[in-house]
């Protein structure tokens, strides 16, 4: 499948087994979209739940997600502005839920992601940092508590309560799949610090001096012109 528009990470899973459909290019934009497609029959009156584990370099905007057609719960670092060096080194957890409508499939979950500026590299040259993003765990939660022997995937205790009386049906992955997407993000390098520091200061101070000179010239011209006008 071709990559369309902005970088998309695509996986495709159905209720029986997973059919991965991976984008050709390693996503490198700072705003990739993680797209997961579910195809399947049955599971009437159930909710489909998709659990993401996001490494610190990746974050979601909860305000952006609130405009989507699914509900969500988010735990962990959520700051929208800091680089990765300034946030806690812990993963965030995101659980998306939506009622499953068997007629309305394949059902596509689009999760807009954002990438923080990564850790500054220590070597010269163009640096990148690779981040592995695990495929989300997915499961159906159905009202009849006795009809399945599956148990919840590993999720934070605070997210367990809504599923206490539900039957859980795990959406599996095929045994030969590598359920990891890889993000490749450009990073700055400390080798640039000296040049950037000095270069910025020199240009700013030179521009400052230039404008001071022009301003003085303008003040003199305006004063002279005003005096001449008065004398006239």
């Amino acid at each position: 499948m071709e990559c369309v528009g902005e970088e998309r990470l695509r996986t495709r899973r159905d209720a029986a087994h997973v059919l991965p459909d991976i984008c050709d290019h390693n996503p490198r934009s700072f705003h990739p979209v993680f797209e997961t497609t579910f195809v399947g029959d049955g599971f009437v009156n159930c909710t489909l739940n998709v659990l993401y584990t996001l490494p610190p370099i990746i974050f979601v905007d909860p305000y952006e997600l609130s405009n989507r057609a699914y509900s969500f719960q988010h735990l962990g670092p959520s700051n929208l502005e800091l680089p990765v060096a300034a946030v806690a080194n812990e993963d965030a957890t995101l659980l998306l839920s939506t009622p499953w409508v068997p007629e309305d499939n394949p059902r596509v979950f689009e999760l807009p992601l954002h990438v923080r500026y990564g850790p500054v590299g220590k070597t010269e040259g163009l640096g990148f940092v690779q981040t592995d993003l695990k495929w989300p765990d997915a499961f159906f939660a159905c009202p009849d508590a006795s009809s399945s022997s599956d148990t919840l995937p590993l999720i934070p205790p605070s997210l367990v309560a809504p599923f206490a009386t539900s039957s859980i049906f795990i959406v599996g992955t095929p045994p030969d799949a590598v359920p990891i997407e890889t993000l490749r993000t450009p990073v700055g390098t400390t080798a640039d610090v000296a040049t950037v520091e000095l270069g910025t200061a020199v240009v700013v101070l030179a521009s400052f001096s230039y404008l001071v000179r022009v301003a003085r010239r303008t003040v003199k011209r305006l004063s002279t012109t005003t005096v001449s006008a008065k004398e006239d």
Partner: protein, 424 residues
């Protein structure tokens, strides 16, 4: 009569454009993942919603008494709570109310520009000046996308309007309101003082000092400062420390590490304080000086305030002075996005009749101004959406942006013609 009809045409056309774009934005956003509406509009709207929700209590001493919510619950809302208050009809009237409000401010700005231009130029030129604002794609795109810059522009223009009409008390209050809305208009106070005190007629330092410090200038300063303090005190009493921090204190210490026009972004990113520093840095003095905020702040404020003192001496120079002050503030700021350009583009239509430039110089200046932005934007696209490592190249383009804009400003200063027998 012909010119009056032409201005009406400009006005009507500009209103049609804005209403059309707002209606289009609703249609587009409902169908596309890539939104026409600016992210900031969502921030304002969310803040307005939080403000209406009294359960989410405002944290000031009088917050409970007024039963209003806290707009600062919304992450990244760093504006006066009055903006969220203005946009509360987004919740109970229509989600696009704010856009219509911003567009209306645009149109009012156009009216003010027309009226001010009429005072010193012919009707045809006045129509052209107002059209430069009202029909400027950057202006109507920004307001219809939901950016609130037009509100501050209205306050700034009104300050200028009142000053040029000699209504200094009103100008003082408007300046205080502008400064409450965003801090940077405080720099205009210096220019106003020089004009009030007729500094242009002062000969020698003593006379200049008397021009700056006299009963009229003290009155202006007191009125302006009181307006700012009263508004801030009222907001603090209701919304507490979050208002103080998000509206003002945050901006004193902000570190904008993500790419923007300012070349400072890359150094900020490379030296961003880590949450868990690995080892204390022991930098030599010259390093610490180069990294000090003073290296950026001193040139910026020296030029911005210095231009106010240097040029703010006659009422006829006021538009030129404010323009120069604003450009240097924006160019030397540690962060700069496209919206900042509106701060000085607002004043350009009023300044243009006072510039004497050859067509070649005009074309070159416009070319450099646009070209440096285009150079930067093309590289920024590669970084943001293609993930190419172009940090260093983007920094170089940031330097070109600074140099290019300084050169253009120098051309404007050299081209400025003393207004003779101005009607103002």
């Amino acid at each position: 009569m012909l010119s009056l009809l032409s201005f009406r045409h400009v006005l009507v056309f500009s209103i049609i454009i804005r209403v059309g774009l707002i209606l289009y934005s609703e249609w587009h956003d409902a169908r596309s993942v890539v939104k026409y509406t600016d992210v900031d509009y969502r921030v304002f709207s969310d803040a307005a919603r939080f403000l209406l929700n009294a359960e989410n209590r405002a944290q000031g001493p009088l917050g409970a008494k007024f039963a209003v919510g806290d707009p600062y619950t919304r992450e990244t809302y760093r504006y006066t709570p009055l903006l969220a208050l203005l946009l509360t009809p987004n919740e109970w009237l229509h989600p696009s109310f704010g856009k219509y409000l911003f567009a209306a401010c645009d149109v009012l700005n156009g009216l003010l520009i027309y009226d001010l231009s009429l005072s010193s130029t012919s009707k045809d030129i006045a129509v052209l000046c107002s059209a430069l604002h009202l029909l400027n794609p950057l202006v109507f795109a920004i307001s219809t996308r939901g950016s609130s810059e037009s509100v501050l522009s209205l306050f700034v223009l009104f300050t200028l309007y009142a000053a040029l009409k000699g209504h200094w008390d009103i100008a003082a209050v408007a300046l205080g309101l502008s400064t409450h809305w965003k801090i940077y208009p405080v720099i205009y106070g210096v220019a106003c003082l020089g004009v009030i005190g007729h500094a242009g007629s002062a000969r020698g330092w003593k006379a200049y000092w008397r021009a700056l410090v006299n009963p009229q200038t003290v009155r202006f300063t007191a009125l302006s400062a009181s307006t700012f303090l009263c508004l801030s005190a009222a907001c603090y009493s209701i919304w507490g420390y979050p208002f103080l921090y998000e509206s003002y204190l945050y901006h004193l210490h902000r570190l904008d590490h993500r790419h923007n026009f300012s070349p400072y972004f890359y150094l900020i990113y490379l030296t961003y304080p880590a949450l868990e520093p690995s080892a204390p840095l022991d930098l030599p003095l010259w390093n610490r000086l180069l990294r000090s905020p003073l290296t950026s702040f001193v040139p910026q404020m020296t030029l911005a305030i210095g231009a106010g003192f240097a040029f703010g001496r006659r009422k006829e120079y006021l538009v030129f002075t404010l323009f120069v002050q604003t450009v240097v503030f924006v160019v030397f700021n540690k962060v700069c996005t496209s919206q900042y350009f509106l701060w000085y583009l607002l004043l350009l239509p009023l300044l243009l009749p006072r510039l004497s430039m050859t067509r070649w110089k005009i074309a070159l200046s416009v070319g450099v101004w646009v070209g440096t932005q285009a150079l930067w934007l093309s590289e920024a696209y590669k970084l943001e959406f293609l993930g190419e490592n172009v940090f260093f190249g983007l920094w170089i383009r940031g330097l070109l942006y600074v140099v290019g804009n300084c050169w253009v400003l120098a051309q404007v200063m050299d081209a400025y013609v003393v207004p003779s027998k101005a009607k103002i």
